[in-house]
Each structure stands twice: as structure tokens, then as C-alpha cells.
């Protein structure tokens, strides 16, 4: 446990001191600034656009953090053989996997918390400037939507750990993780479309393709389940059951991925 926490701490430090972090933070701050500048152009939709841009900027910054910094925090250990040194200490391979995961999770959470402060300031400023155009806006729903961005990124971190445990190259991990993310975000809509009458008229969509996509939809994590942007932007109430199911789904899926990663990693050889 002590070893795992120590590994999480150095993983966090290694991530938080990475210079790419400043670039990503600047990009997010630029998006918040842009939001303030252009908010006036959207007339009655200022509130919706503000919430939408802020949540999207947070989400985008989180993705960049994972794909540009997070992936390297584990994959580079294997790439550069730093893992030889780490595993020569009394640290089991499962502890290594969990330590790396929690380190990446701390890093993503801390970085996004900082950006969230700026995001809240942006929203608060626009709320002050255009109070009449924020009908139905609720800080509570805004924070729920933000929290689920965190949950989504934690799950994506588990995906990164899973692929890092399989491959020896950070580039391959990046490609697989990115593909999983894109599939995970869109698969729900694809499955939904396949069930419509319009899709039934399409001759090109065979039954076997439908079955294949159905299977994929069960295997690939459904990242759309964590998207509460629309509810936050329009001030719609969120069902508690949906919150619980989404959160439980994220935690369970992450746990399964980490378990699989531990199993694969414990059998792996490091030449």
C-alpha cells in the first residue's frame, strides 16, 4: 500500500511538472477568455453557449492532458525501461498498475480543478454581465456535469493503463486509447440509429454488421453516458438514478480494466 502510494505521488509530480501542462492550461484559458469576448454575439443563448463552451473546454483540456501527458506517465516507463528500476523494488505488478492509475487520476483531477476555478469565474462573470440570459441555470447542475467530466477522464485513464499494460510503445497506446475514446463517444448514437426505421431501409447495413456493432457497444466504454452538458446548458433536471448508474458504470468499468491490466501485466516480460 505504501509503495503504491509512493508511486502515485511520483507519478503525480512527474505529470504536474511536465511543460505540456502549461500549454494545455493556456489553451483552456484562451477558450474561457474567448467565451467572455464573444458571449455578446449570441443574444438570448448566452447562458447556454457559456455553459457549453466551458464544459467543452474542460473536457477538451482533460483529453489533451491524458493523451499528451497521462499516456507518457506509464507508457514511457516501459518504453525507456524505467520499469526495470521500479520493479526491482518490493512493489508488485498490481501495485504498480494501481499506483500509476491513481497518480494519473490525481494529476488529471488537480489540473482540471485549477481550470475549473477559472471556468467558474468565467461563468460567474458572464452571469453578472448578462443576468437575464441565464434562465434556468443552476450551479448545482453545472457542477454535476463537471464532476462527470472527471469521471469520464478517470475511466479514460483506466483505458490508457489497460493499453499501456499490453503494448511497449507510447504511440500504440495513444492510437488505441484515442480510437477507444472516439468509438466510446459515438457508439451510443450509432446503435440508436441502427434501431430506427430509417436504418432498417438501408440495404447496405447487414444483420451481421448490426450484430457486430451491438457487440462493440457492449465492449467499448460508453463515454456518452457521462455527458451532462445539455442538461447543464438548458438547466434541465437530472434523474438521480441516471447519476448513480453513470457513476457506478464508470467506477465498475475502470475497476474491470485495472483488474485486466494487472493480470496482463503480471504475466508480461520486460526485455
Amino acid at each position: 500500500m505504501r509503495g503504491m502510494l509512493s508511486l502515485a505521488v511520483i507519478t503525480f509530480k512527474e505529470g504536474i511538472r511536465n511543460r505540456s501542462l502549461f500549454g494545455i492550461a493556456l489553451l483552456a484559458l484562451f477558450l474561457f477568455g474567448l467565451n467572455i469576448t464573444v458571449a455578446g454575439f449570441f443574444m438570448r443563448d448566452i447562458g447556454k453557449v457559456t455553459v457549453d463552451i466551458n464544459l467543452s473546454a474542460l473536457n477538451f483540456a482533460g483529453l489533451l492532458l491524458i493523451f499528451f501527458v497521462g499516456i507518457n506517465l506509464m507508457a514511457k516507463d516501459i518504453d525507456r525501461k524505467t520499469i526495470h528500476l521500479v520493479l526491482s523494488k518490493p512493489l508488485s505488478r498490481s501495485q504498480y498498475i494501481c499506483g500509476k492509475y491513481f497518480g494519473i487520476q490525481f494529476f488529471i483531477t488537480a489540473s482540471l480543478m485549477l481550470l475549473m476555478v477559472f471556468s467558474c469565474l468565467t461563468v460567474a462573470l458572464l452571469l453578472q454581465l448578462y443576468p437575464n440570459y441565464f434562465d434556468g441555470f443552476s450551479w448545482g447542475i453545472f457542477f454535476v456535469a463537471t464532476f462527470f467530466i472527471f469521471v469520464k477522464l478517470w475511466l479514460l485513464s483506466a483505458v490508457v493503463i489497460f493499453f499501456s499494460s499490453l503494448t511497449s510503445s507510447s504511440l500504440i497506446t495513444l492510437i488505441f486509447s484515442l480510437a477507444t475514446y472516439v468509438a466510446g463517444v459515438t457508439i451510443e448514437e450509432v446503435v440508436f440509429y441502427l434501431k430506427t426505421e430509417l436504418a432498417a431501409q438501408e440495404r447496405i447495413i447487414s444483420e451481421s454488421l448490426k450484430s457486430f456493432i451491438e457487440v462493440i457497444s457492449w465492449v467499448v466504454p460508453n463515454f456518452a453516458a457521462f455527458d451532462f452538458t445539455m442538461e447543464a446548458a438548458h438547466g434541465l433536471a437530472i434523474n438521480t438514478d441516471r447519476l448513480m448508474v453513470s457513476f457506478g458504470y464508470g467506477v465498475l468499468y475502470s475497476a474491470i480494466l485495472l483488474l485486466l491490466a494487472s493480470l496482463i501485466f503480471s504475466r508480461r516480460e520486460f526485455n
Partner: protein
């Protein structure tokens, strides 16, 4: 007592699809005794690093067994007893040495006080004290190597496994590491290391294993190789019986048969008694040799012979 025993271990790597397996280690057997310095030498690709990685559990042998203090490796938690320095240690770029050592100490179960004391001591010995708060990415290759040695030794392991410890070090760095290894040996630690710098291996080791193409070609005992002592006189002498051999060795002489020649290396402190003994026993001195054949010459000879 045997610390580590490699028994008929073999390992082949799969280089990829449609490619033939590469036999890295083949039926390798040797042991490392408690308190000794065991040097493993061999050309590039001979299987030295593979052997070390198998010992650390980073890779598994295809066949054979590795015993650690008489027990199979898989059943024994060895990592608390072993300190390992890999060849070219890649450390975390954005951490400083103090943080790296704290991580090392905490995973090894040391408390903060012990980490501080051991860390300061090692950093002082390896001249890294002034660089302890600098990010590791700013370290030179030699400094990284020394930082890796601190990482390996922080938890005071009883067995030290070093893969090319002198690699990338300048003469001052090499001297520091040399002195440190001698100090560790003095403390009774077992040291298992591999290196290409044969001069260092020769000076440090009690026994040396030469591996080539994954096989142990020869095991040199202490008397087989010189200690790089410039004041040693090497004589060609006539045949000896077993008693004479034993008595000459007891007086500090080292014997080696090279083809038809029997060589006797006489260290500086043994000139007089050995000379008296040779006279008394009427052992003919056939001539002198300017130097004892070095480990490097033996190494080259054996490797060329193997290649032929």
C-alpha cells in the same frame, strides 16, 4: 553458502512474426556465493543482461531454475534483499534525486529518518549532495549512473546486482564506484555484476564467469587472473608436483598453465620466500615474462576460439 544458483536456465526471445527465435541463454549454470564479488563478462549479446533480468523476475526462463538462498525464485520475496542498477538507468525526468530516493525508501519499507540518513550518506560518497534538488533531466550521464547506484543501495540490500556499473563514468566516477564496491565487499555484501570494462572486473571480482552465445564458457577462480599488480614478477618454471603447487600458492604465488609453459606469478611481498623455496626444491626457472596474461587477452582468445 550459495546466495544465487542458476541451474540449466535457458531463454529464447521471439523477435516477431515469421522470425526465428533468438536463443539468448542456453543451459546456463553457475552460482554466486555469499560475500563474494562475482563478475559476469561476455561480448555484446552474450546473455549477461538477460541472466540478470531473469534473476530479478523481469523475464522468466523457458527452462531450468534459479534458486535464491536455496529456494526457488518464485516462492521467495527477493526484492528487499536485492539492490539493482540497470544498464543506462532511465530515471524520472521531472523528479529530483531526493524525491527519487524517498520513493525508493518508502517502497522498501524504510522510515523517513532512515531514508534521509542513508540517502545523505550515499549522495556524499557519490558526490551528488549538491545536486540532490536538481531535476534528474539536468543530470549528466555519469551523474545519472551514480544516482542509479544510490537508488540501488538506499535500502541497504545484502545482494547488489549491477549491470554495467562503470558505463558512462569518467575516471573519477569510476574510482568512486570502485571504492564503493570494495566498501560493500568489506561489509560482507554479495555483489553480482557484469561489465565490459575487463580491467575493473579483474580488479573487483573474486570469481568471473565468461559467457558467450548464452553459454558459460569458463569460470575463472581468483588465482586465474591477475590483480593488475604492476610489481608482480612472472616466471616460467619447470613442472611441479601437487605438494609444490599447494605450497607455492600458500606463499602467495599464483600458477597458470599456458600451453606447455607453467607460469608462476610472484607478488611483491612473496619474492624472498618463493625464491628460497624454488632454490630449496630445485625447481628450475626457465625464464621470465614481462606480464601476466590479462583477463582481456584470455577473453579475446576464448571468444575467438568459440567463433572459429
Amino acid at each position: 553458502m550459495l546466495e544465487i544458483c542458476f541451474s540449466n536456465i535457458s531463454k529464447a526471445y521471439d523477435p516477431g512474426l515469421f522470425k526465428k527465435k533468438v536463443q539468448a541463454v542456453s543451459n546456463l549454470s553457475f552460482d554466486v556465493r555469499q560475500g563474494e564479488v562475482f563478475g559476469l563478462i561476455g561480448p555484446n549479446g552474450a546473455g549477461k543482461s538477460t541472466t540478470i533480468r531473469m534473476l530479478l523476475g523481469l523475464i522468466r526462463p523457458d527452462s531450468g531454475s534459479i534458486l535464491f538462498r536455496g529456494r526457488p525464485l518464485r516462492e521467495t520475496p527477493i526484492h528487499r534483499d536485492i539492490g539493482y542498477l540497470p544498464e543506462n538507468p532511465y530515471l524520472y525526468d521531472h523528479l529530483n534525486l531526493l524525491e527519487l530516493l524517498t520513493f525508493c525508501g518508502r517502497t522498501s519499507g524504510l522510515d523517513a529518518k532512515a531514508i534521509f540518513e542513508r540517502g545523505q550518506g550515499l549522495m556524499t560518497k557519490l558526490n551528488l549532495l549538491n545536486a540532490q534538488k536538481r531535476p534528474l533531466r539536468t543530470f549528466s550521464k555519469g551523474m545519472l549512473q551514480r544516482a542509479g547506484i544510490c537508488f540501488a543501495l538506499l535500502h541497504n540490500p545484502s545482494i547488489v546486482v549491477l549491470d554495467e556499473p562503470m558505463s558512462g563514468l569518467d575516471p573519477i566516477g569510476r574510482k568512486m564506484v570502485f571504492d564503493l564496491v570494495m566498501e560493500l565487499k568489506g561489509e560482507g555484501k554479495t555483489i553480482f555484476f557484469c561489465s565490459h570494462i575487463l580491467n575493473d572486473v579483474e580488479r573487483l571480482s573474486d570469481r568471473i564467469g565468461l559467457i558467450n552465445r548464452g553459454r558459460l564458457v569458463r569460470l575463472f577462480e581468483g588465482t586465474d587472473f591477475s590483480r593488475n599488480d604492476d610489481k608482480t614478477v612472472v616466471l616460467r618454471i619447470s613442472e611441479l608436483d601437487a605438494t609444490q603447487r599447494h605450497e607455492l600458492q600458500m606463499m602467495g604465488g599464483r600458477l597458470r598453465q599456458e600451453g606447455v609453459e607453467l607460469l608462476l606469478a610472484v607478488p611483491e611481498g612473496s619474492y624472498y620466500p618463493i625464491n628460497r623455496y624454488l632454490e630449496k626444491q630445485e625447481i628450475a626457472v626457465l625464464g621470465g615474462r614481462s606480464e601476466w596474461v590479462s583477463l582481456e587477452e584470455m577473453f579475446m582468445g576464448i571468444v575467438k576460439e568459440e567463433a572459429a
